[in-house]
């Protein structure tokens, strides 16, 4: 490093790190907010799906020697299929029950996945090292790791893609219709059970993409599941429930906030940031800080 880093460089580096980390967080959260918004279901297994995809990517590429990109895509497909089965086979059975019941089922499913992963992969931290893991740009004293930059690009692309897909494709319109009024949707011929499962599978696939990216840029272990679920929750609330572009903004905001906190606050307070943001958001503006909740005019019978 050339010379002592100035306070300005430190601040810039923290901002950049926060934005890059925020991209990953947004990617983690966008599937969560989609499921919450459309199905009115808090998926407490979301973090477990993220970590499961990370493990699958790791096992397929580091152990089985598959190309990392191919390994990531396979992991996404597996996690999406699992999500479809989970919604179709279990969660659809309690879809009309008070929200507590689906919440408990996803909680149980997440716990099951996490403990199964602890049993299968043990609970030590893992990192996927590839030829391009450590390459980085340097712009005026600020480091830009290439892979993290890609994860931000992927996050922006996928969240935009989901928003466009929901608006313009036939399946996307079916999903939105179900989110607004599932009984009316059924009356016009939308297969509601299938669309519920499809929405959950889409959320799981996004969790899978985030997990594959986590495997590439960071460390992970079964313990990370709860952190990812909590952060998704915070981002969904901040960005407006069901609002996918809001999730992007919320993710970036949380990433920057946590990076700045890491730079300027004592260590034990950093983990409290997400909670503090959550409580403030829930109590002051339950409809979202950055964005507005979609499906606020939902009809539930």
């Amino acid at each position: 490093m050339a010379g002592a880093p100035s306070a300005v460089t430190d601040l810039l580096q923290a901002l950049v790190d926060g934005l890059l980390e925020g991209g990953l967080l947004a990617l983690v959260a966008v599937g969560f907010t989609l499921v919450w918004g459309v199905l009115n279901e808090i998926n407490l297994a979301h973090g477990a799906l993220v970590v499961l995809a990370a493990y699958l990517t790791w096992e397929l590429s580091a152990s089985a020697g598959l190309n990392p990109l191919l390994a990531g895509l396979t992991a996404i497909a597996v996690v999406a299929a699992l999500g479809y089965a989970l919604q179709r086979g279990l969660l659809n059975l309690v879809a009309r029950a008070p929200v507590l019941l689906p919440l408990l089922v996803t909680f149980g499913a997440g716990l099951l996945l996490r403990d199964a992963m602890v049993a299968a992969f043990s609970s030590d931290d893992r990192t996927l090292v590839t030829a391009y893991s450590l390459s980085a740009f340097r712009v005026g004293g600020v480091y830009l790791p290439v892979l993290r930059l890609w994860s931000l690009v992927l996050a922006v692309t996928l969240t935009t893609g989901v928003a466009l897909g929901l608006r313009h494709t036939r399946h996307g319109m079916a999903i939105r219709a179900v989110g607004m009024d599932r009984d009316a949707a059924r009356l016009v011929g939308i297969p509601v059970r299938h669309v519920y499962a499809l929405t959950f599978a889409a959320g799981a696939a996004l969790a899978g993409a985030a997990g594959a990216m986590v495997a590439a840029v960071g460390t992970f272990s079964p313990v990370s599941t709860d952190v990812y679920t909590l952060e998704s929750f915070v981002i969904a609330v901040v960005g407006g429930i069901g609002n996918t572009s809001g999730a992007l903004a919320g993710g970036l905001a949380l990433g920057v906030l946590e990076a700045l906190a890491g730079q300027y606050l004592p260590g034990e307070l950093v983990s409290a940031i997400a909670f503090a943001v959550l409580l403030l958001a829930l109590v002051l503006r339950p409809q979202g800080i950055v964005g507005r909740a979609r499906y606020s005019a939902r009809v539930d019978r």
Binding site: P98, L100, L101, F107, A109, S271, L278, L279, V283
Partner: protein, 334 residues
């Protein structure tokens, strides 16, 4: 009130029989029975706020932990005897609930659940940082030595103490179920806006329900702290405790008097006994039971009883249990 009188009599007789029976139990079944009784109390505590009022708290362990830590601090740092610390801890847990209750109870449904989860995690962090609680290193309740202490009373005494507490919880919920207060809570669960316009002071009623549930959970926490002797943030604020409370009430029957008792007996026995042989798959048992239990019994076993709770006094026509089981699944299925 002939019938009510007989019920109270039967309850008292059963309690005395259980107290006598405990003395005859060998140590392992006694341990299982003790933890069943602890969870009867905890489940009834959750039942008041989550079952009757319909506010599914996921942070109930906070009140258990606050009660336990209050007892530990009072005995270890202030020099109280345990039996003086017990009511003080219960009152402190209730007061804590009355303080955190109003902002939390503004939220509904999922948001309430997650906010209470956050409240419990925040309380745990706070306890782990504070000096008076011993931080992450934990705190020891003095049970011997030269200083002021309460001698450790032994397993059978704890069984009796938990039995007494479980009996009190059951009595409290039985009273609540028939009282005007319980009626107000049910009205809030059914339709809060309608309840408000019918003259129910919703905020005050909800906070009172949370404080009452915290009173029970805090007392149980204080007893648990004494039983464990050494308390840690991880043991007093274990999320699994909350999960068990919720699942026991859901599978037993939300908002019923008998349901949580049945749920606690079945669930705690299953969990404790299954631990004995399936060691490697151990951690998978509880989540699997949660998923299966909730999907198959969304309204709880109490609704399979010959006269379902909540049925009119005149009695709705009896349905066969099998049909009722499938009905609950059909009703909530997409």
């Amino acid at each position: 009130m002939e019938k009510t009188g007989r019920r109270w009599l039967a309850g008292s007789a059963a309690t005395i029989a259980l107290a006598a029976g405990g003395a005859a139990l060998p140590s392992q079944p006694l341990g299982t029975a003790t933890s069943v009784l602890l969870f009867v109390t905890l489940a009834q505590s959750w039942n008041i706020i989550g079952g009757f009022a319909g506010y599914p708290s996921f942070g109930q362990v906070a009140f258990f932990g606050v009660g336990g830590y209050c007892a530990a601090v009072l005995t270890a740092q202030v020099g109280f005897s345990f039996w003086a610390a017990l009511p003080a801890s219960a009152a402190f847990a209730a007061a804590f609930a009355a303080v955190v209750g109003p902002p939390l109870l503004r939220l509904r449904g999922n948001a309430f659940s997650i906010a209470t989860l956050g409240m419990a995690a925040g309380t745990r962090e706070l306890v782990a940082i504070l000096g008076v609680t011993g931080g992450g290193a934990g705190l020891t309740v003095p049970t011997f030595g030269p200083g002021p202490h309460t001698a450790y009373p032994g397993a059978l005494a704890f069984y009796w103490a938990y039995l007494a507490l479980a009996a009190v919880s059951l009595a409290v919920v039985a009273w609540l179920s028939a009282s005007r207060f319980g009626l107000a809570l049910r009205a809030i669960r059914a339709d809060e806006t309608a309840a408000e316009s019918a003259g129910v002071a919703t905020t005050r009623t909800k906070v009172a329900a949370l404080a009452l549930s915290a009173l029970l959970a805090g007392t149980a926490g204080a007893l648990f702290a004494f039983q464990q002797v050494v308390v840690f943030p991880d043991s007093m604020f274990d999320i699994t405790t909350t999960t068990l409370m919720v699942v026991i009430v859901v599978v037993g029957g939300r908002g019923t008097v008998a349901g949580p008792v049945v749920g606690a007996v079945v669930f705690e026995t299953l969990v404790t006994e299954l631990h004995l042989f399936a060691s490697r798959l151990d951690p998978l048992i509880l989540p699997a039971l949660i998923v299966v239990g909730v999907v198959l019994l969304p309204d709880g076993v109490a609704h399979l009883l010959p006269v379902p709770p909540g049925a009119g006094r005149g009695g709705t026509p009896r349905a066969r249990p099998r049909a009722v089981l499938l009905d609950a699944v059909r009703r909530y299925r997409l």
